[in-house]
Symmetry: C2
Subunit: 386 residues, 2 copies
Amino acid sequence: MDYQQKKKLLMIPGPTNVPERVLHAMTKPMINHRGNEFHDLYKNIQEKARKVFETEQNIVVLSSSGTGGVEAAISNIVKKGDNVIIPVFGEFSRRVAQYVRLIGGNPICIEAPLGSAPSFEEVKAKTEEVRKIKAFCIVYNDTSPGTKINWLDKIANVALDFNAFTIVDAVSILAGDELPMDKWGIDIVVTASQKCLAAPPGLAILGISEKATKYVMKNEIHLEYFNLAKYIEYSNLRKETPYTPAVPLFYALDEALSLVLEEGLQRRIQRHRITAKAFYESLEAAGLKPFVKPEARSNTVISFEYPENIEDKKFRENLEKNFGVVIAGGFGELRGKIFRIGNMGEVNRYHVLTTLNAILISLSDFGLKVENEEIIQNARRTLEAV
Amino acid sequence: MDYQQKKKLLMIPGPTNVPERVLHAMTKPMINHRGNEFHDLYKNIQEKARKVFETEQNIVVLSSSGTGGVEAAISNIVKKGDNVIIPVFGEFSRRVAQYVRLIGGNPICIEAPLGSAPSFEEVKAKTEEVRKIKAFCIVYNDTSPGTKINWLDKIANVALDFNAFTIVDAVSILAGDELPMDKWGIDIVVTASQKCLAAPPGLAILGISEKATKYVMKNEIHLEYFNLAKYIEYSNLRKETPYTPAVPLFYALDEALSLVLEEGLQRRIQRHRITAKAFYESLEAAGLKPFVKPEARSNTVISFEYPENIEDKKFRENLEKNFGVVIAGGFGELRGKIFRIGNMGEVNRYHVLTTLNAILISLSDFGLKVENEEIIQNARRTLEAV
């Protein structure tokens, strides 16, 4: 099977398209993960990642998916019986609550209907009611509905009042939207390599505050591979990981982080905003309805409801077969009801226009009358700033 | 920093040198891990891995190091209070015992001095004494002293008598030495990508018997990322992994497994035997003493004691700096006392002779009189069969 011949435009919410420079970084020769070359590589990654996380605190890299990173963050902080505040507004935040329950914690869920997110006021009110709180576990951007929390900058102050930790799952958003870790006072930020960083999947990157570090280092947990104390210890002692790292993915991440810094983090975030705007404007102009309320819309995962007569699977098959454009369907109870576009990583004019063209023509194929020409011209104007 | 210019011969016990074909497989374009291309890729990997594990049972691939794979195997079988028989004869088998203790199991250790391995009779006697046993957790080849268990073929029969599971850590040996999983009746075999399979690090591959599958599927555990039931379920339902897989490493593993099957598993094992023989013979002829007793010597990790006046760090630095050959030192209490050569993966005539040449000349550099010419000529003869 020749994968090269099947190269497609991957517009799903991760893995995302990986730039050639990043792909080819993986072909560097294998090195000893206990030797100087690896020490330099890991040090470079940490220094660059600090700039992208906007932190001066600890950075560690786990050879696992983002789920592994989130599990590590939670299980190193949350103990049996601990109260944990969790805004629940999609599949991934629901999983966080499940996981907290699984390890014996007490998840206190503030739920919002799909397509919206719990407000800051609701979360604050619940917090003041519960009072004894170990941590806030917040999915910043829930990939499953494409919904974003818009009050993350305010949570650390609340957490401080209750001496609680803030753990943020930023897997599908970091480097694609604002998240200045130190300024916002977040204790643990988790992201993954294959989303807005545009590296291949397989690594979880964690920013860990001094406060969280202190707690984690004196803490006993029943996990080995996800014991963060070991990652911090090995990193501080000699820029190594406790267990054999996925070296080629470290090469790729190093290169991907260089690309982020070459572009500039703020410019990158701005680019994501503009491409998101082009998607939202154009698809609304085509008569489609965004699934998420305006105040909770994500710039990195864009979800739209299907018009009544369009069948999800057929629509996406048409896109992939005829245009080589791959987008995602809905998750769980949203299956068949929405489609989702990953607006992540290297997403630029070409990605947006190609995807829009494909979607607009497909809408016609399925019998919808759409002003393709005008919509695309408007999108081009919006995208001029990219 | 230009890693290309620093290409070295990596003769450590993993990661090992990765063939170009395997490295370049990683540059294939990113694919949707919930789409047909990934389904085909995973199916191919499983089919090929079954041939290498010599099993017709379940194969799953975790995006983690070998340690993660071993943790997954143990934590999905061993519960609080369970008796677990563990031969302890090096750092990695010691860690298995620690981990069993960490999760509340009761490790029953049969220890052997470093450089030897517990005998089958000792293990059997202890088993008959304890009687109530949940599992045997056996490190087939302990990488830290370079010591191998030579009775693994007999353990399943004992386990059967006590209705116990057999879990084998074969990280540093599978595909480099005999381990016919089904024939020997092992329940879970764990290996990693970066050892004898000669793929890059970052994946753990597990063979899981029907008996273990049945147990795992109805079992509740407090882990998410290492919950094997999910891996088996997703694999059976649609050839997916429950969490985003490290796609480039899957490409690489697929290619690496093809190379194993193109060579033929038995020929590959035979090649490892011959290159190991050349190492042992030649270094003994140079006056060095193998660290491990003859009956417990490994074909994949070869360890020798340092002569009195040779300092580990200086010796290995000399090898790396002058010859570009990287070997490993000792681990834990063996630090400074032994050096270890990884005889794994694509190891061939060139690797052995280059490494031997470098070592022999370095021995002279450090004042040892060595018959280089004769030793190398003998090694060449031994290696003719490769």
